[in-house]
């Protein structure tokens, strides 16, 4: 005998939901859950557009001595400059180009400054990549250097190496392999494998970077000198390697990058070593940072006051 007042057996309200929806929120259409375009422009879009316009206006403002990214010049910039200056004439340099497409714009300025610095020293550059994204950037940068006048005997494309860290171990063991060209012959003539290079410059990203080189290559080729250029978010990971001397030089922040670029630009070398890149706008970065700090303060204050008010209503601190 069943009680007529009892609800019927079986799945409750979910049974009436559309197929594939576990909750009423999931059952709602995107139009119902997301704000309308007009509302999103008012609430989120307008401040974002204002931010873009503000950054653009700050870009257009002339640079002044009041707002500078590298004052005083960071020691890290001078370290890389001194490292390159201390190389023998016409050094053989291996460039590991493994930056991410998404973060390379941050370090492009410093990377191109390093290329100009190296070419001014008469360096011959061999490029290798262990990530597909880095390979794309390497091809573009080699093309740029060629267009600036770097002759083929000064550039060597070692291509893409598969296997990530396993590929690094293979490179440490086999060196440049069967690569051909004047630069490859010069490395081979030294007869020391990868140690035939005077310096390795690692342009790192999230996948393969200085840490990979320190962990996989340096224990196998201890005499190899490794310098690195990384985006800011990798600095906490790689700074200990610089402090311990496992990296001979490191550029890891925008002030480092712009100071280094200024050092290279002041050298004023011509040809392929020309460095005429536009530095990141200090005005725009300052405006962006002030806005970010402001948003953080306002949101933190709101949440703090909110929790205080809730605590007061509950009678607890």
């Amino acid at each position: 005998m069943t009680d007529a007042r009892r609800p019927p057996e079986g799945p409750p309200a979910e049974a009436t939901l559309p197929e594939g929806a576990a909750t009423p929120e999931e059952a709602a259409t995107p139009e119902e859950t997301s704000p309308s375009p007009r509302r999103s422009l008012r609430t989120a879009g307008l401040p974002a557009v204002m931010l873009l316009l503000g950054l653009a206006a700050a870009w257009l403002l002339p640079a002044t001595d009041l707002v500078r990214l590298h004052e005083p010049p960071p020691a890290r910039a001078a370290e890389l400059h001194a490292t390159i200056a201390g190389l023998p004439e016409k050094p053989l340099v291996l460039v590991d180009m493994d930056a991410d497409l998404g973060t390379y714009p941050e370090i492009r300025y410093a990377t191109r400054a390093a290329f100009a610095d190296l070419l001014a020293k008469g360096a011959r550059l061999a490029f290798v990549s262990f990530s597909p994204e880095g390979r794309a950037i390497a091809i573009a940068e080699e093309e740029r250097l060629t267009s600036l006048g770097a002759t083929p005997d000064r550039l060597l494309d070692l291509g893409f190496r598969s296997g990530a860290e396993a590929g690094l171990v293979q490179l440490a063991g086999n060196g440049i392999g069967d690569a051909t060209g004047a630069l490859a012959d010069a490395v081979r003539a030294r007869g020391r494998g990868l140690a035939g290079f005077d310096l390795v410059v690692v342009v790192g990203g999230g996948e393969i970077g200085p840490r990979s080189w320190i962990e996989q290559v340096e224990p196998r080729v201890p005499s190899l000198k490794v310098a690195a250029i990384t985006p800011t978010f990798l600095l906490p990971e790689v700074q200990p390697y610089r402090d311990a001397g496992q990296l001979v030089a490191l550029l890891g922040t925008l002030p480092d990058d712009t100071a280094y670029g200024a050092l290279v630009a002041s050298a004023g070398t011509g040809g392929a070593a020309t460095f005429e890149q536009t530095a990141p706008s200090a005005n725009a970065l300052l405006l962006g940072m002030l806005l970010a700090i402001g948003v953080l303060v306002v949101s933190s204050a709101g949440s703090l006051f909110g929790s205080s008010a809730r605590g007061a209503r509950r009678g607890t601190p």
């Binding site: 422009l41 879009g45 557009v49 653009a56 573009a140």
Partner: protein
């Protein structure tokens, strides 16, 4: 300097495409989703095509197919590689036990290289660098004490499920705050990094595209 490093038609077209795609992504800010969706599809398609091209042209053909066609007898190990690659390619249709063999080789090899490198390249050298020597002076000693005072509580914070006294529990609580502080600092680095990317994109539009800044 435009997107193709040249002032010819291809370079100009590349700059215009980059600028228009940037604007298409930003159009989401004013509620336009279709342009953003189109840009996302373009990125996914290009990335997939590029990855396939790199895999075929720079890995599979020169390192596997060409040596096998040229002299398979001289590289018998490549036959095994070929079979393993074929299993991975057909993993969707093959039994799980067969697919597990190349998958285990990939995962095991990656873990082996990562673990070995972490010990010999990071852990041991960093431990050596962290040891305060007698000649390092008061600054080095202070730095070492601060490092120890932070490292020990953070390690204790990851002790879960073990009986702890009041002292250890207090240190673990302090360690959790150090972790939170470290994460906050890292997020600050991340914020600056992303801000630099946004400023670079604005600079690209103003300089390379519109020619307003040099």
């Amino acid at each position: 300097m435009n997107a193709f490093f040249a002032s010819d038609a291809a370079g100009t077209a590349a700059t215009w495409v980059a600028a228009l795609v940037t604007l298409a992504v930003w159009s989401y800010l004013v509620g336009e989703r279709r342009l953003l969706h189109a840009a996302q599809l373009l990125l996914a398609g290009l990335a997939t095509g590029y990855l396939a091209l790199v895999a075929i042209r720079e890995v599979l053909v020169p390192q596997l197919v060409s040596p096998l066609i040229g002299s398979a007898a001289a590289h018998p190990e490549l036959l095994i590689d070929f079979v393993l690659v074929a299993i991975l390619v057909g993993s969707r249709w093959l039994p799980r036990r067969i697919v597990a063999i190349p998958a285990a080789a990939v995962v095991g090899g990656t873990a082996g290289f990562a673990l070995g490198g972490a010990v010999t390249g990071t852990l041991l050298p960093q431990l050596a660098a962290g040891i305060v020597t007698s000649g390092s002076g008061p600054g080095g000693a202070l730095s070492g004490v601060i490092g120890l005072a932070i490292t020990v509580p953070v390690l204790l914070a990851f002790l879960h499920g073990t009986p702890r006294g009041a002292l250890v529990a207090g240190a673990a609580r302090a360690g959790r705050w150090f972790v939170v502080g470290g994460l906050g600092a890292w997020l600050g680095f991340l914020l600056l990094s992303r801000l630099a990317l946004l400023v670079d994109r604005v600079g690209f539009l103003l300089g390379d595209w519109l020619g307003l800044v040099r």
